[in-house]
């Protein structure tokens, strides 16, 4: 200690101390100027991370509603044993066209925003017209690929909400047929509300249903069935519970598969 104080008292070391202080001050000043910008950048990064984590938490299939919530029917179907070969029945009643006892049953797991699903839609519609309800039953299951498709869940909700007013297929067709029109929209709600008006839905009920836990539960149950059946992407189509390879979804191949099935079960 004695040595260091002695050193400090010499004029030359006094000078060096003041130089050090000057440098320190300048560094501090610069730091002080930069600090708010650093804080802003940190907050920006935190904000982006937060948005990402909110999105990620949405990416998981919708959570089942808490006990005691108004989801009539959903609770009853949740633990019902399977009607088909999987343990997950999906949302019930399923959206289906054609007779329940038709020999051929095509079950599509679809995402309204996926372009191949949009391309398969007219093919299935043609088949439905060609074979008729006695031979062919079409079932649609919700399988929105969130978050890859940002509007897929909103589309599924809109279709399900229309379903609660008995117009699932009308909405399903409009959403698929106009896929290109809403695909790149930033906000799809007004567009889907437009479709709801077109098919004559009660708008107040439609808006309420879209956001309801009941609709969420239906989508969740369909997704659960899809996962249980090994669905990886969309569209995945099952012909009498047998998965059709993606390559066979071309019109002629699909028709051939149905004909083969009809021949096997006349």
């Amino acid at each position: 200690m004695a040595i260091s104080t002695a050193r400090l008292s010499t004029p030359s070391s006094n000078q060096s101390v003041s130089v050090v202080r000057l440098i320190q001050n300048r560094v501090e000043q610069k730091m002080k100027r930069a600090l708010p910008f650093i804080i802003i950048v940190v907050v920006l990064a935190a904000g982006i991370t937060l948005a990402w984590s909110f999105l990620r938490s949405n990416a998981v299939a919708p959570a089942p509603p808490p006990a005691g919530n108004n989801a009539p029917g959903a609770a009853a179907t949740a633990n019902t044993p399977a009607a088909s070969n999987t343990s997950e029945p999906g949302a019930e009643p399923a959206h289906a066209l054609g007779n329940a006892n038709a020999p051929v049953r095509l079950e599509e797991f679809g995402d309204f925003e996926c372009p191949p699903c949009g391309m398969v839609h007219p093919v299935l519609k043609n088949l439905e017209a060609q074979y008729g309800p006695a031979k062919l039953r079409l079932v649609f299951r919700e399988f929105p690929l969130v978050p890859a498709h940002v509007h897929a869940l909103a589309a599924a909700r809109a279709a399900e909400a229309a379903g609660l007013q008995g117009k699932f297929w009308e909405m399903h067709d409009l959403i698929y047929e106009n896929q290109k029109a809403w695909h790149d929209a930033f906000d799809v709600r007004p567009i889907f509300e437009g479709y709801a008006t077109t098919i004559g839905l009660d708008m107040d009920q439609f808006r309420r249903d879209q956001a309801s836990e009941f609709v969420e539960r239906r989508i969740f149950l369909d997704g659960k069935r899809g996962h249980a059946m090994g669905v990886q992407g969309t569209p995945t189509i099952f012909l009498n519970d047998r998965e059709l390879p993606f390559e066979t979804l071309a019109p002629d191949k699909l028709k051939a598969a149905i004909d083969a099935e009809l021949a096997a079960h006349p």
Binding site: P36, I40, A51, F54, F186
Partner: protein, 159 residues
């Protein structure tokens, strides 16, 4: 001691302004988180979990977006702007205080309009929107106080 006291008094309004800008920047973070949450929920089409009843009515109303841009997204942008300006102002970039006052003033007017829509047009309130209204109102009060303090500080410095 007697020499340093008046100097400290002279610095007081400036310090008060810094403090108020600092508080404003922290308060704006609450609004930012709120707005980010609503934007993500809006874009994912997911229903927002609310303890008040009117959330889905408000958030799925046509007023929830402006020409396809979700209002919550604009809110997030506005809160981030306020945060940045308030932080800079707190660290001595006082010239930005005027711009901050302008942005917050516009936000306050927007808030009044949105409260009117919720009360008289949609007929439902959503708690996230009310939180945002509270944050913006608090920011308005803070920024007015900070602007006054920094004006007083500038006047005393000149004097």
């Amino acid at each position: 001691m007697s020499e340093t006291n008046p100097e400290a008094n002279q610095l007081k309004p400036a310090r008060r302004a810094s403090l108020l800008y600092g508080i404003a920047s922290i308060v704006s973070l609450v609004g930012l988180v709120d707005a980010i949450y609503l934007t993500v929920e809006h874009l994912s089409g997911r229903s927002v979990r609310c303890t008040l009843s009117g959330c889905s009515e408000v958030l799925s109303s046509p007023y929830a977006s402006v020409r396809g841009v979700p209002l919550a997204g604009l809110g997030a942008l506005a809160y981030f702007t306020v945060f940045s300006l308030a932080t800079l102002a707190a660290f001595g970039y006082r010239a930005l205080g005027k711009l901050l006052a302008l942005v917050v003033g516009l936000m306050f007017l927007t808030t009044l309009w949105l409260l009117y829509l919720q009360a008289f047009v949609i007929g439902h309130f959503c708690q996230y929107c009310l939180l945002s209204a509270l944050v913006t109102t608090t920011l308005t009060v803070l920024v007015i106080a900070a602007t006054r303090a920094s004006r007083t500080a500038a006047a005393t410095q000149r004097g």
